[in-house]
């Protein structure tokens, strides 16, 4: 380092800035050009390589009243201190403080391009909003968890500055950022499986490497009633798209979808982009994927009110749950716009 130390800026709320409790939550932004509150711990932990050049603080209510505007105001104060690393919180289970820390680290990372760290209790509502933008070290529910959290935060921050690798979420104590990576183990998967089944048979403890997820409960919509009066649309994850792929669907892991007028789709060149099944039979007769032919007959006979002229197409292959949820929301919005009352979803 040659004597030069990295500059660290911290963020705390009015309470940790020792201005006051809930009665002072309306206080606006301020800066102390020193470490105050929890920042003192970071100063001590990082003293060999870094200097805490300032602590930016703000009242939780002031920040939360207009979080976006507050974050911009805070960013200007942080930027003026020319930090190399930004540390916010820990916010523990404090909801408004969590939102403030999350907004600050997120904006600082994006605008200043420097490493950021914060810390929260996993059920803090800010966790889900910001865990992909930064490293959120997992804390206990109470502020007494500071002693455990601070060294983890400082350690991650320092390695980010040194461009050294950060390990997995469990090993490092942060909340998963929605990145899954592989780590080579001492034993191959076959050996691990045989050991696991023997432990299970003997009633000994074992650690499953994966567990079935707990899914959201989705309440079904009301029944449509009289089918003769509804507008029906067809939705598929089978990846049947126009030749020029205007919505840039991918063969797998796709995050986009498209809506296409069926007749236009059929009259022009089209293909199956989904790489998880053999598209031969769908290409031979696309009604196998979306039975528009039969549905039109049914509609012509008056047994179905109306069939949407558009079809809604995604590629399900290896899509993440979150990407699928987003696509679902977008498709549902389009369906609502077109006054569709019911859909049939076909899979492959």
């Amino acid at each position: 380092m040659g004597g030069k130390k990295w500059r660290v800026v911290c963020y705390v709320n009015q309470f940790y800035a020792q201005i006051g409790g809930e009665d002072k939550a309306g206080v606006g932004f301020g800066v102390k050009e020193e470490a105050i509150g929890p920042a003192i711990q970071f100063r001590n932990l990082l003293k060999d390589d870094c200097e805490v050049v300032g602590t930016v603080y703000c009242g939780d209510n002031y920040f939360a009243d207009n979080a976006e505007k507050s974050a911009e105001e805070g960013l200007a104060l942080v930027a003026a201190l020319k930090p190399d690393l930004f540390i916010a919180g820990p916010a523990f289970n404090a909801g408004r403080y969590g939102i403030a820390c999350g907004n600050m680290v997120s904006l600082v990372a994006r605008k200043l391009g420097i490493p950021t760290v914060t810390a929260m209790y996993p059920e803090n509502p800010a966790v889900d909003l910001f865990r992909k933008d930064t490293y959120i070290v997992e804390t206990g529910i109470m502020a007494s968890g500071m002693r455990d959290a601070a060294p983890k935060m400082a350690g991650i921050g320092l390695r980010l500055l040194k461009k050294e690798p950060i390990g997995g979420a469990v090993a490092e104590g942060y909340i998963p950022r929605d990145i899954i990576l592989n780590e080579e183990q001492p034993d191959n998967a076959a050996h691990r499986a045989i050991e696991m089944v023997l432990h299970k048979l003997r009633g000994e403890p074992f650690s499953s490497e994966l567990l079935p997820p707990v899914f959201d409960e989705v309440a079904p919509a009301e029944a449509v009633g009289d089918v003769k009066k509804i507008k029906l649309a067809m939705v598929t994850d089978g990846g049947l798209i126009p030749e020029d792929n205007p919505d840039r669907l991918k063969p797998n892991g796709s995050t986009t979808w498209g809506h296409y007028d069926w007749d236009t789709l059929m009259e022009n060149r089209h293909f199956v982009i989904h790489s998880g099944y053999d598209g031969t039979w769908v290409m031979e007769n696309p009604n196998r994927l979306l039975p528009i032919d039969v549905l039109r007959e049914v509609a012509a006979e008056g047994k179905l009110g109306e069939l949407d002229s558009e079809v809604y197409v995604a590629t399900g292959n290896c899509a993440s749950v979150e990407a699928s949820r987003t696509k679902g929301e977008q498709i549902a919005a389009r369906l609502k716009e077109r006054a569709v009352q019911a859909v049939i979803l076909t899979s492959t």
Partner: protein, 436 residues
């Protein structure tokens, strides 16, 4: 059924005037290989590339569809029944010669035909964790004309590769093996738990033009119900892929890590109760029946107390092993499936495709989409010099170029799944998925 395997470890491949084994080196005659090539009407001996790649070489091999270990029967059977012969014999007994320390890498020069292909580098970040990059490889790249039928081509690639493997192993027969091992689970030791293996070998979701890979004794795999097969039979030539790389190689089946470990522990701390073979169901009704039949076979025929399950590639395949594991658990058989994560931008809490709550003992051999950026190489094998390293899952589908790639000889982006040797569906690999 008992199988004796006798192993010789060799240090290197060299090209030579004749195919022979001398002082730890296996000399390979190009002429002998071209004799095999001439037996296949779809190959042009003038356009048949053969190369040797060694650990540490600046070499990238693309269009890889299989890696094969040189082996031959010494007695008690024929080589690759149903693939190299019309004659059908049950594999898995007698004596087999195994050549350790080298591999044969088979490439297909048409990505449309292979539908799925892999690649690997002989040096760099991925090579450090790749067993195939740690041994000299004889790389076989048969070229063919565009009007060749892809089915004929795929099968010819496999035949040529297997014939070379047999030839090389036979060349070592004059030398006394370094290790002899008897794989035998005929007699059970009372009091030890019976562990079975449920092996899903195939999923037709990756068929091309409804071509069913002839994976079982050279026969196409139908929508079969569970079969009982002998463990030695599976490793000794009954099952081999044909066509595309889907995270299992012939090399891994020949050295099947679950079968080998269960055999080696048989009579010590477990009894190897046997193997059932399944295929992926494409309909829920079939899946439900297969799951119940498999569980029933495990208990009533194999007498299993526990079972390890593995899958073919894909999500539907995972549902099947989850269903079998769940049915097994319901009748008191402890089940451990080995599965993978199908994407990289998520967390393990939501991405387990098995949803039966009673399947609570799972090994996860990694995510397919752990990405790598690989440095340029000096030599490209398996394709033309100007070949592209296509991003995504498939470069070309139904003749539609759906992804563009960087020149394969330069810096490329690749995935754990695409690196042959890093991800093994049958448990040969060491990776595990971790939240970051």
């Amino acid at each position: 059924m008992k199988l004796q395997i006798e192993t010789i470890r060799i240090k290197d491949f060299q090209f030579g005037a004749s195919t022979e084994y001398r002082d730890g080196t296996l000399y390979v005659s190009r002429g002998d290989i071209l004799d095999f090539v001439r037996q296949e009407s779809c190959f042009d001996p003038e356009a048949f590339n053969i190369a040797i790649a060694r650990p540490g070489d600046s070499v990238r091999i693309i269009n890889v569809v299989d890696v094969v270990q040189p082996r031959c029967k010494v007695s008690g059977g024929i080589d690759w029944p149903g693939v190299l012969s019309e004659e059908q014999q049950i594999a898995g007994s007698g004596v087999t010669r195994v050549v350790e320390g080298v591999g044969l890498t088979l490439c297909q020069n048409n990505t449309y035909w292979s539908r799925k292909w892999g690649s690997y580098d002989m040096n760099g970040e991925c090579a450090a964790i790749n067993p195939y990059a740690r041994m000299p490889q004889l790389v076989i790249e048969p070229l063919t004309s565009a009007d060749t039928d892809f089915r004929a081509y795929r099968e010819a690639v496999r035949r040529v590769g297997f014939r070379i493997g047999v030839l090389l192993a036979r060349a070592t027969l004059g030398t006394v093996p370094e290790r002899v091992e008897l794989l035998d689970n005929e007699n059970r030791v009372p009091g030890l738990p019976g562990i079975a293996y449920s092996y899903q070998i195939y999923s037709k979701q990756y068929d091309t033009h409804n071509y069913r890979e002839p994976m079982v004794y050279g026969n196409a795999v139908p929508d079969t119900f569970p079969l009982v097969m002998q463990p030695t039979e599976i490793m000794d030539g009954a099952i081999s892929p044909c066509g595309g790389f889907r995270c299992v190689t012939t090399y891994e089946i020949q050295n099947h890590p679950i079968i080998m470990e269960l055999m080696r522990r048989h009579g010590k701390d477990l009894n190897f109760a046997g193997v059932i073979v399944t295929v992926t169901s494409v309909e829920a009704k079939h899946r439900s029946l297969v799951a119940k039949m498999a569980a029933s076979l495990l208990r009533e025929v194999l007498g299993a107390d526990g079972v390890i399950l593995t899958k073919g590639v894909g999500g539907a395949s995972t549902l099947d092993v989850g269903a079998i594991a769940s049915e097994a658990e319901k009748i008191g058989i402890r089940a451990v499936p080995i599965i993978q994560i199908l994407n990289g931008k998520s967390n393990l809490g939501v991405e387990c495709l098995i949803s039966e709550p009673n399947v609570d003992s799972i090994v996860c051999s990694g995510t397919y989409y752990h990405n790598f950026t690989l440095a340029p190489v000096e030599t490209l094998l398996g394709g033309p010099k100007d070949a592209l390293y296509l991003s995504g899952d498939d470069g070309v589908i139904e003749g539609h170029r759906i992804a563009t790639g960087d020149p394969a000889v330069g810096q490329v982006r690749s995935t754990y799944m695409k690196q042959v040797g890093l991800m093994s569906q049958i448990g040969y690999s060491y990776g595990k998925a971790v939240d970051y």
